[in-house]
Each structure stands twice: as C-alpha cells, then as structure tokens.
C-alpha cells in the first residue's frame, strides 16, 4: 500500500540532483522501491515531536578545531595524490570539459 507515488519524471529529477544516470527500467524500479521505503519511514510521523529538540551528534561534541597549520606527516606528495587519478597532466588532475569551445 503506497501512499507516495514517484512518477518517472520525479525519479528522473532526483537522479539529476544526485548526478546519476538511470536506464528506463531503473527509473521504474526505483519509483516503486522509493514508495516501499517511504511507507516504512512514514511510521515516525505518529510520534509527537513538537517539544523535542533534534540530535545531530550523539556525543555532544561541538566545533572541534585544530590549528591551521600544514601537517606534513599526514599530507600526500603530489605523486601520491595523483596516483589514483584516472587522468592527470603535468602534476594536475584532469577534469572533463564542461564549457563548449567556440570555433
């Protein structure tokens, strides 16, 4: 029993926000999976939380800082930092082109 429907258009929009590409079959499957999950989640609406504060951090720590200094012992060399990059050029990461070149 689904209360929230996820149309292919809604699923495609979420995919776009999440930078994911979906096939048509995946779009349909995900729509029904989301409805199934939202139905389970919906149960918590039964609880009155109007007077309750949210908890984001269970141990109560706030604003943990360190001195703004370079830490050579836990820093990578340029070669180490680039070792896993699929593409690099003269010591830099190479990123896909996002702006079309004008002729």
């Amino acid at each position: 029993m689904s209360t929230t429907a996820f149309s292919p258009l809604v699923v495609a929009h979420i995919a776009q926000l999440a930078h994911l590409e979906l096939t048509e079959a995946e779009t349909t499957q995900l729509g029904s999976a989301f409805a199934q999950t939202i139905d389970v989640i919906a149960k918590m609406a039964e609880l009155d939380t109007s007077q309750v504060k949210p908890t984001h951090q269970v141990t109560g720590l706030t604003n943990v800082w360190r001195a703004d200094e370079a830490q050579p012992n836990s820093s990578f060399t340029q070669a180490e930092a680039l070792a896993n990059a699929p593409l690099s050029h003269q010591g830099f990461f190479m990123v896909p082109q996002i702006i079309e070149q004008s002729e």
């Binding site: 926000l17 039964e46 504060k53 949210p54 908890t55 141990t59 990059a85």
Partner: protein, 460 residues
Amino acid sequence: MLRNLTLTQALAAIKTGEINTAEITGDVLSSIEAQNPTLNVFLHVNRDAALQSEKMTSQPLAGLPIAFKDNICTKGLPTTAASTLLEKFIPPYDATVSRRLKTAGATIIGKTNLDAWAHGSSTETSQFGTTLNPRNPQHLPGGSSGGSAAAVAGNMCIASMGTETAGSIRQPAAWCGVVGLKPTYGRVSRSGLVAMASSTDSPGPITKTVADAALMLNYLAGHDPLDGTSSTQDVPDYTASLGCEIKGMKIGVLYLEMSELAHLKRFYEPVLKILADLGAEVEFTQALDPHYAISVYTVIQRAEVSSNLGRYDGIRYGQDRTYFGAEAKRRVMLGTYTLSKGYADQYYHQAQKVRTLFLDDYDRLFQKYDVLISPTSPGFAKKIGASEGSAMFGELEDMLLEPSSITGLPGISVPCYRDPDTNLFLGLNIMAPMWREDRVLQVGDAFEQATLWNSWRQHD
C-alpha cells in the same frame, strides 16, 4: 590446527615459543586458499602476509593475521568497498584503525567482502558476488561486515575488523556464530573508513571469543586528531573486565515479548536463566518501539549516504558514477529526496527529533538497569537470495540493533544458541550506556564462560 586458535591462545603459544607466528599465518593462508574459491570471503589476499608476520613476533599482536573489511583503507592494499567504482583504488594511506593494529603488530591477511559501500545486511549487494556462510553455505553470512564475520567463523584469520552503522558488526557475527563488538560512537576513530553514515559509523572487532574482542579494543580505542568526532574520554584496560562476576547486576530484557519474535522465545529463555543463575537480576522491560528506529535510521542513513557518496566524481580516484550498483543508487537518491526542499522537515528533521526520543528512552532505562539485552537478529541466517526484491531487507533484519546504533551505544553480540540440524547460530546482544564497553564485555565474557555455545571455548 593452528588456524583454529583464538587470539588469546595464539599469543600465549607464541610467547612460550611453542609455535611461531609464520606457522600460524601459513596455516591461515592455506585455510583461505582451500575455502575462498567457494565461500567468496576475501576480495584480496595479502600473499606476503607470512613473510611480514615473521618480522613482528616480538610486538604485542605478534604479527598474527587479522582480516580487514574492504571499506577500511589499507596503504598499498586495494580497498574497494565491494564496488567496481573503487576496483582500481589503492589507498595512499592507512585508516587510523589499520595503522593502530599494524603498529601493535597485526599482519593484514586480506580484505573481506561486504555489501557494496556497506549498504545491506547480507553481502548480496556486493558487486563482487555474495559471501557464503561457512557454518552452512546455503545461507547468508549477514552484513554488511559479512566477509569479516565469515573469515572468523571459517578460521580464515585469527580475528577481523568490521564496521557498524546499524547492525553491520553484530548481525553478521550472530549469523556466523562469532563475537562482534560495536564500540560507542566516537570511541574508535572513523578516519580512513569509506564513509557511509558519518553520524553512526563505528569500526570494531569481530573475534572468536569475548576475551579476544577486549584485547582488540585495547589497541583500537582512543582519541584521534584525524577524526573530529573521536572522543578524548579515558580508555580503560578492557581485559580487566574479563573473568568478573555479574552477581547483583541489573539486566533489562528488551523486545523478546514482541509478537514478531514469539518464535525466538524458547531459544532465549535458557539464556535469561543462565544470567540469573550467575546472580544477575534479570527482568523484562519495555523500550520505545524499535520500528520507529527503522524510520529514523533509514532517513539518516540515506541522507548521509547521499552526501558522502557525492565525493565520487571519478576525477581524483575511482571510476565515474555509472559504476554505482542498484542499491547505492537507490540509497543516494532517497537521501537526496528526503533532504530536498519541502521534504526535509517531514523526513530529515523529524528523524533527528525521534533520535532524541530514543536517547531519552535509554537514559530512563539505564537509570534502572546496568545493561540491556535482546536477541541480535529476528532469526537465524537467511538463505542465499533472501534480500532480493526487498528495498528494506537490511533495515528489517537490523531492527533490534537500530535503536542503539542511532544513539551511539556500545553493544556486543555473543553466540547463545546453535541449531544442531542447520549448524546456524543465534546471538545475544548486550548493550550498555555510552563509553561502557567494559560492561558489555564483562557480561558477554561471563555468559560465554558459563555456556557451551562458543565453538572456540575451551571446556574443561
């Protein structure tokens, strides 16, 4: 056989010179070689382990072979999180837990399978195939640390490392008939884990006995400047909790009276009797309905996943986002949805408020009880294929662990029953207030010593 030794036994035998570490590591490697092709426990085996372990004999962990879940960064050894997206990734650094155990003299014997990105409770979402349960290969090992639990159960390591976000150490430990310890959130550094849900991720050991878990935690626990959420609380010697009486301890029993768990009652009633015979005051008590924790966990986990998995752009490391499997896509997108404008109040903020209700509920319970216990999982290890077609498989399997996970509490699962026909196990989950791992270890050890369920326990 040497592979059957517990960590405590192995260290004692090495100390007296009876056995040398390389022999143990060699035997464990043969065990992996014989079983891994069918059970699919390891995604990567460290073939140099025998040589490495020999050099560390004089260190506290004596070079013994420890398996690591493959979402824990290990310098120079592949770390895939069981996703093809990270198939070619070789971490240029060690996670803090890897570094700490290596410094203490552990040899990383290999990297174990998990649900891809630790999303699941079966290992069936791994993009490198499902792990089979060594206790009964027609069944799942549980998850997400299924490979690490199976490695211990199958004597393919002396102990292993897992990570838990909501049940991922304790549930596979229960299904594989081994011990799984989930420390308090912040007790053990998260630095170098492939981040899943950062507000609940907790690395911890999976071992053959409670004593081994206590020993491992001694090397793992403590503040780490590389993890801002790690705690500066003092770390006791956890082995001091072993061999202690539990007489007079007040134990609250949760969930066993739920109608959904009626089938489990006959297995757990003898457990309560054993604890009572040890002198504990055992009584049933009521907690907030764990179904609400499923809602909270699902919202928080998906939200944090959508944020954490946003970093995989295929530019600095790893392949591009088309390599995400179905489960990761489903979770990232659901998190994106529940965090989006117009829905965040209804889902994300409401979940964080209900989390507070659970914290208040535990405060109330721990005023009355020293520890709380419950079944670890709603049943025995499920059959291969069980998770398919259910978007909420893991959440339902982990329902009894989610309340304590979202609130950061420490817990341990200890074997408490073995089915003679299927060779499958049930686990007893023991929970204590924040930072009281000593107490879960004390009760776990007392129970283990008083029973026959642990297959490595020495019976004299």
